[in-house]
Structure formats: structure tokens, C-alpha cells
């Protein structure tokens, strides 16, 4: 029992040890005689407890996360993996569907125009109807992350220019609308097919070879695509294209542009997750994993390696393209900035953080990497605005939150490094990878 809680106990003791001299004792350096005066100052102890409770809450959340992860991924995998005898039943993927449902159906349904009082007092004031835009972006990144996960996580092929296909889809839509009067619902399937075709063409020369050629080719594609879009007249150069009908979703069943954009994003995400999970739990998905695990053996066992890699990569590209269309239709604006290198890396980081090879991990990674920086950004002003929170949050903690908000990207980098060191399989890594780590 003790050993299970040892990290938390040690963590608390550590926090205590570090904060003790500053909070319980007043250290007063005296420079005239080079001594440090120490005074017992228990009036600062409140801050310590404030600190402690934060540690408790965070520790508890981590513990719950670990338990849930074990319960869902690990025990399940050990008990019934991978016979997949029950596949085809809806409940087989139940907890993933529940996560999607919670995020996309229940949460927005509970939104009030001015935010929810309870949520606001908990420091989540941005959860209101006006935050639909934020959730739409989370949804878009989720689509991109599950799409990229097919290639990087399942098939084990590195892609460094994934945002190129995202921008490609958006431009297909924008140009199609400008010149051929494409409605957005037609642009989706068209971009899906064209994006897949583009992925196929790019994959054709380099997927025949072993090694990470795809990473370089896609990186080049994204960069070249951006430069071409910046320099062509018909694409509006750096300024991008403002779609003629800038509120494309408006007037659809009397809903606002934002609401329809959100719904379309949600439906696209559900479509993408559905498609990918069904393929994953099929001979095709197993072939992808086999290629990741040992390409030579997969080929010798009758798996057409090149075709399967092309399929995985084309599907990835097609999913990104459809996300691009949704983005274009939602924002009414596409620009070359969509396929900047940082975008591609961000999507890759989402996949890696969530867990390579696990679609639900990719969803989680996308949500965390998009929401947490936003949350940190909003945190100081949130605390300031909430009387309850500013009362209970000690000054010390508020200051550190402000620092967090300023240095959120630094924090982000640190988290990624720590993840790679201590949990390289990602938050919801596949159960198999976890077992392998145990044996090590």
C-alpha cells in the first residue's frame, strides 16, 4: 500500500521541505554583518496550505488518471486483448465514444450564454456558448491528430509536414468556391479525394524505400505548398483568400455560423474516428501495426507493404484535407500560415503526448495541447475576476500562475521532455507498449 502512494508522499514532503524555510520561517539577510536572521513566522502558513492543497488536487487527478488508464486500457487489454472476438459491437469502443459524446454533445448542451456559475467559480469561465469557437478548434486539432496517428502511430512512418495537407484541403475549398461555386458540403468529399490523391502521389516514390524518406518529402511538400500559395496571384499571396460568402454556415436551420461550424466539426471528427477505428480493428489495421513492428516479416507473411503504407498515408492526408475544408468554412478565410512548420510539429506533439498508435490518445493529446495553453493564458485574469477564487488562492500561488501563463510554452517544452523520459508511450499509450515497458 505504502509503495503505491510513495510518489505522492515523497512529493508532499518535497514541497514541504522546499517551502518550509520561506513560509514558516522568515529569512532576513543582514548585509552589514553578513548573517541571515531567522524568525518564526507562522502567519505565512496559510500560503503553505494553499500550496499543499494544490499539490493534493493535482496528485489526486494524476492518481485518478492512472487508475482510469489502467482500468480501461491495461486490464481490458490483458483480459481480452486481442482476440477482438467481440468486435463489431458498439460497446467495444465504448469509452472512446463516451469521451467523444461528452465533449461534443453533453458539454455544449449544458452551456449558458453567460457561462455557468459553478464552472465560473471553479475557474472555467470560458465554458459558455461563446467558447464554442474554442471547442471547434479543439475538434479540428482532434481530427488532425487522429488522422496523423494513422501514419505516425499505427504504421510507424514519420510525417513532418502534415499541416501541408490541412492547408491543401482549405485551398481546394477556397479555390473551388471562388471558381467553381463549390458549396461546403460538396467541397468536403472533393477535398477528401484530392487530399488522398495528393498523399498517394507523394507517397508513391518514397514509400517504396525503407527509412524515413516520407518525413523529408512531406516536410518539403508543406513548405513548398506554403511558398506557392504565397506567390500565386489566384491564391491571394500572403493575404490568403477571404471566402466570398464569409458566413457559409449561417442560416442553416436558423443556427449561428459558430454553432453550425461546431456541429460540422463534431460530425467530421466522429466520422474520422469511426473510419479509423473500424480500419484499426480489421486486417488492415493489423497489417499497419505489423509494418511498424517488422516490415520484412510483414512482407514475408503476405502483407503488401507498399500498398498498405500508401493506404495509411493517403487516408491521413485525406483526413487532414477534410479538416482544412471545415476550417475554411468555419473561419471564411484561408491563408498560407495554415501550413507553417510549427503547426505540423504541434499536431505531431499531440499524437506523441496522447500515445502513439492510440486514436483516443490522439484525441486526448489534442485536447490537452490546445486547451492547457489557452487555460494557462486565461488563468490569472480568471482568478482576478472570480471573488471566490481570488479569496482562496494565496498570493504566492497567484503569482506562480501568472508566471505559468507567461512561460506556458517553456512549460510545454519541459512537459514534453519529461514525457519522453518517463512515459515515452504517451498518456494513453497502447497497452502492448506498456507491457513491454514493464518487462524491461
Amino acid at each position: 500500500m505504502i509503495s503505491r502512494y510513495r510518489p505522492y508522499i515523497l512529493g508532499l514532503l518535497g514541497v514541504f521541505a522546499i517551502t518550509f524555510p520561506f513560509l514558516w520561517l522568515q529569512l532576513a539577510p543582514n548585509f552589514t554583518n553578513n548573517t541571515v536572521g531567522i524568525t518564526w513566522a507562522p502567519q505565512h502558513a496559510g500560503e503553505f496550505f494553499g500550496n499543499l492543497s494544490t499539490v493534493f488536487v493535482v496528485g489526486f487527478l494524476i492518481w485518478v488518471g492512472i487508475r482510469l488508464n489502467r482500468h480501461f486500457a491495461w486490464d481490458k487489454a490483458l483480459a481480452q486483448n486481442p482476440a477482438w472476438q467481440k468486435i463489431g459491437t458498439f460497446w467495444d469502443d465504448y469509452w472512446g465514444w463516451i469521451a467523444v459524446a461528452v465533449l461534443f454533445l453533453i458539454l455544449p448542451a449544458s452551456l449558458r450564454p453567460n457561462g455557468n456559475e459553478t464552472l465560473r467559480s471553479l475557474g472555467l469561465p470560458w465554458i459558455s456558448t461563446s467558447s464554442l469557437g474554442l471547442f471547434t478548434f479543439v475538434g479540428l486539432y482532434m481530427i488532425l491528430a487522429v488522422g496523423l496517428n494513422i501514419t505516425v502511430g499505427m504504421t510507424g512512418l514519420l510525417v513532418l509536414g502534415y499541416a501541408g495537407f490541412y492547408a491543401f484541403g482549405a485551398y481546394v475549398f477556397a479555390l473551388g468556391q471562388e471558381h467553381f461555386y463549390f458549396p461546403w458540403w460538396l467541397a468536403g468529399p472533393v477535398a477528401f479525394v484530392l487530399g488522398g490523391g495528393m498523399g498517394y502521389l507523394l507517397g508513391l516514390p518514397c514509400l517504396r524505400l525503407r527509412g524515413d524518406y516520407l518525413a523529408i518529402v512531406t516536410l518539403g511538400f508543406a513548405e513548398a505548398f506554403r511558398e506557392i500559395m504565397r506567390n500565386l496571384d489566384i491564391t491571394g499571396g500572403d493575404k490568403g483568400i477571404v471566402l466570398k460568402d464569409s458566413s457559409i454556415f449561417q442560416g442553416f436551420w436558423g443556427l449561428s455560423n459558430q454553432q453550425v461550424g461546431y456541429a460540422v466539426t463534431a460530425l467530421t471528427l466522429i466520422f474520422a474516428v469511426f473510419l479509423i477505428q473500424r480500419l484499426y480493428h480489421s486486417p488492415i489495421g493489423r497489417a499497419w501495426i505489423a509494418i511498424r513492428e517488422n516490415e520484412v516479416a510483414a512482407a514475408a507473411m503476405g502483407v503488401p507493404v507498399v500498398q498498405m503504407k500508401l493506404l495509411a498515408f493517403s487516408l491521413s492526408a485525406a483526413v487532414a484535407a477534410i479538416a482544412g475544408v471545415v476550417y475554411g468554412a468555419k473561419d471564411g478565410f484561408v491563408s498560407p500560415a495554415m501550413c507553417e512548420f510549427q503547426q505540423s510539429i504541434m499536431i505531431l506533439a499531440m499524437v506523441i503526448l496522447g500515445g502513439l498508435g492510440n486514436s483516443y490518445g490522439a484525441l486526448l493529446g489534442a485536447a490537452l495541447l490546445y486547451m492547457v495553453p489557452e487555460y494557462l493564458k486565461a488563468l490569472p485574469s480568471t482568478i482576478q475576476k472570480s471573488p471566490f477564487l481570488s479569496d482562496i488562492t494565496p498570493h504566492f500561488v497567484r503569482q506562480s500562475f501568472e508566471a505559468l501563463s507567461d512561460y506556458r510554452w517553456l512549460l510545454f517544452g519541459a512537459v514534453m521532455v519529461i514525457m519522453m523520459l518517463y512515459r515515452p508511450q504517451g498518456l494513453l499509450g497502447t497497452a502492448r507498449r506498456k507491457i513491454e515497458m514493464l518487462n524491461r
Binding site: W84, S282, A287, I289, A290, A297, R432
Partner: protein, 256 residues
């Protein structure tokens, strides 16, 4: 009658190294042919040529009279040639059962609708696959490890799993690359039993092995390679007493 497999003087070189030179071999169904030779004799290269991993520079490989020279590995596999690897190549993060399921790829229908809808047809097929995979596991004695992660299996069991996986492609010709390497005497006896059970299923087997007990017990024919050149070919009795083979293995007696 055309033999199941026939190689017509196939050769493969790496730079200046002649790894395989003009090897001729005919293998009939239900036979075990062993390929032996000192280290570096080109045995594994010969296998890689047969299974499509390498393309031989000259000569041809016929399967049932059809030329399969230079085909891709998965195409060769589709025509009924399966193999195991000297350095075990499992899919280590997949379970034992999944390893077998991968090998059934070519026998599965991939039509998109049933696959995406998980229709009844697809589920039936999937369950049948699992059943068949379990039969193969039972055949090699791995039933109780079906859900274990294959990378965590003991060495000898991994070898057995590789054989089961190769069988799951439903081959007519099985290439075994040192199946008994690193095994203790007990495991070796079990491996001999397993190989003869496979032969009894009507498969032809080509076996690379250093373990002479295995080779002499179950081979119908033995081909001896030295520096890529076939130096002897015949029944175990004949090969055992062949002075050329003894010389290749033990070296020449020093004569004054």
C-alpha cells in the same frame, strides 16, 4: 511431373562476394530438404532469394512450373511459400494471437463496406480467423500463451510462434531458417517432432540447420553449400560420408 519448387542455377552476389552460385534444387511435396554448410556459406541468402527478399542475378525460381523470380515477398507468400527467420522477426508488441492473425491477411476479404460496417459477414470471418489462429497455436503448443505479448515469450516459444505464423499463411512450401538454434536437447527433440508433424500435413520443407541431429533425423535430402557453391547433394547417408563435405566442415588433414 513438375516439382513443387525448382531452382535453376540461381546466383546472388554482394559486391565482389559470391554469396550463392548456381544452386539447383528440386523439392517435392511431403519432403524435407536440408541446406547445410559452414557459417557464411550462403544458406540464408539462398532463402532470401527464394522468399523474394533478394532478387537473384541469374537463374530462375519455379513454383509449380511458374516463374516467381524477382517477385515481391508478399507475392511469393501468396503463391504458397512461407518462411521463418534466423534472427527471430516477430511483431513483438502484438499478442501471440495477433501475430497469427496478421499472417492471414491474404486470405481475408478487404471489401470496404463489410469492413467499415462490421457487418455480420465481417464478424463471422473475423471469428473464423481467430478460431483458425487458435488451431495453429494448438498445433505448435502455444495455446495458453494466446494473449501474451509475443515479445515477452521465451526464446524457444518465439521460434514456435514464428513457425505457427508461417503456417497461418497456408503455405505449400515452408522455409525454416535454423529452427533449433539455441535450443536445449529436450526442446530440440520437440522441434524435430514438430517439423515431422508439419511434413505430415503435406507440406514441403526446406530446412537450414546447424544441429546435425535434427538434420540427419528428418531430412530426405541434404544440400551442402560452401562459399555459395553446392558441393554435395543427396541422401543423409551419402552426404555424411562424402569426403568433400567432411573437408569443408572439418578442414583438410595436414599432409607432409
Amino acid at each position: 511431373m513438375t516439382p513443387l519448387l525448382e531452382t535453376r542455377s540461381i546466383s546472388k552476389t554482394f559486391g565482389g562476394l559470391k554469396a550463392v552460385q548456381k544452386v539447383d534444387l528440386r523439392v517435392e511435396a511431403n519432403r524435407v530438404v536440408s541446406v547445410i554448410g559452414p557459417n557464411g556459406a550462403g544458406k540464408t541468402t539462398f532463402f532470401n532469394c527464394l522468399s523474394g527478399i533478394y532478387r537473384p542475378e541469374s537463374g530462375s525460381i519455379l513454383l509449380d512450373g511458374h516463374d516467381i523470380t524477382g517477385r515481391q515477398p508478399h507475392q511469393v507468400c501468396r503463391r504458397g511459400v512461407a518462411r521463418t527467420f534466423q534472427n527471430i522477426r516477430l511483431f513483438p508488441e502484438m499478442s501471440v494471437l495477433e501475430n497469427i492473425l496478421v499472417a492471414q491477411f491474404q486470405h481475408r476479404s478487404l471489401s470496404p463496406f463489410p469492413l467499415l460496417a462490421h457487418s455480420k459477414k465481417f464478424r463471422t470471418e473475423e471469428n473464423a480467423s481467430c478460431e483458425e489462429a487458435r488451431e495453429f497455436l494448438e498445433f505448435v503448443g502455444l495455446t495458453k500463451y494466446a494473449d501474451a505479448v509475443s515479445g515477452s515469450l521465451a526464446y524457444g516459444l518465439q521460434r514456435r510462434l514464428e513457425i505457427a505464423r508461417a503456417l497461418a499463411t497456408r503455405p505449400r512450401l515452408l522455409l525454416l531458417d535454423e529452427p533449433a538454434a539455441g535450443m536445449n536437447p529436450q526442446e530440440t527433440v520437440e522441434m524435430i517432432q514438430l517439423i515431422s508433424n508439419i511434413r505430415n500435413r503435406g507440406l514441403a520443407i526446406i530446412l537450414i540447420e546447424h544441429h546435425m541431429k535434427v538434420v540427419m533425423t528428418i531430412s530426405d535430402e541434404i544440400l551442402v553449400l560452401d562459399h555459395g557453391i553446392p558441393i554435395a547433394h543427396g541422401t543423409p547417408e551419402k552426404v555424411r560420408n562424402d569426403p568433400v563435405v567432411i573437408k569443408a566442415y572439418l578442414g583438410e588433414e595436414i599432409t607432409e
